[in-house]
């Protein structure tokens, strides 16, 4: 919240678009701004009416370098935009740096994302230090079609304007905290010596030699894979990582998705009855990859590039009581299975569970 708690005295606000950028179709600019306004009206009782002529509460314009508000822009990149806290005159106004590469997609800077952030300021919010929050100071792309206002921002705006009228209060994604004992994972894979833990639209990167854990948006590295990865494994021999989401999979070499992907998982030999993969790991010594689906598992031969015969088998028959597998990876000869907040260490030589830990044991909590 902003010191002094500036806020609009009424809920029905007006906005006006003073000019347009030549880098986008006018209709796309209108749509991006309208969608950005709805981010905030969806979670409060605020309404926004577009006006074309008079002075509006929120005046939106594209501006160049020194535009006489004592806060000159700095050319491409750097500062993208700014806005003023609620108040008369310049209060509430949004200025966008005309020299930025404004777009409606993932290239350049997505106008919807930046606009939604700046409108947070126009309504009285300051910056959040939650790296997953919309009001975090630095830019990060989220597909507008998949965008959901994070809980941190909902809490902030409702602290100023109260809750929405909706029968069910809206909620938003919460940024994973590495040492949250309730943290569970969607998928985990090794990756060139690191371990990457996937959760919603985030990835936590852990390098064995570094104490701290790095939190990133998945889209920072793989814009096309913005969230919801369900299984992943590394084929060390081929320096590839495979990601699974619903009935598709992607192959990545380094940070690049190989052309021709995604492909249907049925290309690997799964029957059509399989709709998604829960977890996977690959044993680099045997070249065998294990896929876990519900209470069964398949084994795939990376060298023959086909499923082994005699599968699927019951997980409990060969791996013991590890329940449904959320995620798995192999490290230093052991297999680590994750089931909710519990982690099992499995010794494939002894063919039995040799340890049980919290799922967050890798984060030096």
């Amino acid at each position: 919240l902003t010191p002094g708690n500036p806020k609009w005295k009424r809920n029905n606000l007006t906005y006006r678009i003073l000019n347009y950028t030549p880098k986008m179709r006018q209709a796309d600019v209108d749509e991006a701004i309208q969608k950005a306004l709805s981010v905030w009206s969806n979670v409060t009782q605020l309404t926004f009416q577009k006006i074309e002529d008079k002075e509006a509460d929120i005046m939106i314009s594209f501006a160049y370098r020194d535009h006489r508000d004592n806060s000159p822009f700095d050319g491409p990149n750097g500062q993208l935009a700014h806005a003023f806290q609620p108040g008369e005159g310049i209060g509430g106004d949004v200025h966008l740096d005309e020299e930025e590469a404004w777009t409606k997609g993932g290239r350049g800077y997505n106008l919807f994302i930046v606009m939604a952030h700046e409108l947070g300021h126009s309504l009285g919010l300051s910056h959040s230090n939650d790296p997953g929050a919309l009001m975090y100071p630095t830019y990060s792309y989220t597909d507008p079609n998949e965008f959901r206002l994070p809980q941190d921002d909902i809490d902030g705006i409702q602290a100023i304007y109260g809750k929405s009228n909706a029968p069910v209060q809206p909620t938003g994604p919460v940024t994973p905290q590495a040492c949250d004992p309730n943290l569970t994972f969607d998928a985990i894979t090794t990756f060139r010596g690191e371990i990457i833990f996937f959760k919603n639209r985030y990835m936590l990167r852990k390098h064995p030699e570094r104490t701290e854990t790095e939190l990133n948006f998945i889209s920072t590295f793989w814009p096309k894979l913005s969230s919801g990865i369900q299984a992943a494994y590394e084929n060390v021999e081929r320096d590839e990582v495979l990601f699974f989401k619903e009935d598709k999979y992607w192959v990545l070499r380094g940070f690049d998705i190989l052309p021709g992907y995604p492909k249907p998982i049925y290309h690997l030999g799964f029957p059509k009855t399989v709709k998604r993969v829960n977890a996977a790991y690959s044993d680099e010594t045997t070249g065998k990859t294990y896929f876990f689906i519900a209470d069964r598992y398949w084994r795939y031969d990376e060298r023959k590039k086909s499923m082994d015969h005699g599968y699927p088998r019951k997980i409990v028959s060969d791996f013991g009581k590890i329940g449904r597998v959320d995620a798995a990876f192999q490290k230093d000869g052991y297999i680590y299975f994750f089931h909710k907040t519990t982690q099992f260490q499995f010794d494939p030589r002894a063919k039995r569970i040799v340890g049980q830990m919290k799922s967050i044991s890798w984060f030096n909590c």
Partner: protein, 84 residues
């Protein structure tokens, strides 16, 4: 004399750090810039404030993670205080 590369780098680094802290952490523009001076000068104090905000290691020095964060495209509004 031609500026030695590291000295030039240091000059650029100091400039980047200084303008970032002036823009977003209300560092006064008339302070004397010394990254090395031992007593806690305003620039080091503001640098620590920025590192604290972003959850970086609070070193008071322009380390790699800090400089990387400063180079990220962002909103022009300060991270602290009002934005009248």
């Amino acid at each position: 004399f031609p500026v030695a590369p590291e000295a030039e780098d240091e000059g650029q680094t100091l400039q980047l750090v200084e303008s970032y802290l002036q823009n977003f952490y209300n560092l006064q523009r008339d302070h004397q810039p010394h990254l090395r001076k031992h007593s806690e000068n305003p620039l080091v104090a503001k640098l620590k404030e920025m590192q604290e905000f972003f959850g970086l290691q609070v070193t008071g020095k322009p380390d790699l993670d800090t400089l990387e964060m400063m180079k990220k495209p962002r909103c022009g509004i300060p991270d602290i205080g009002q934005y009248m």
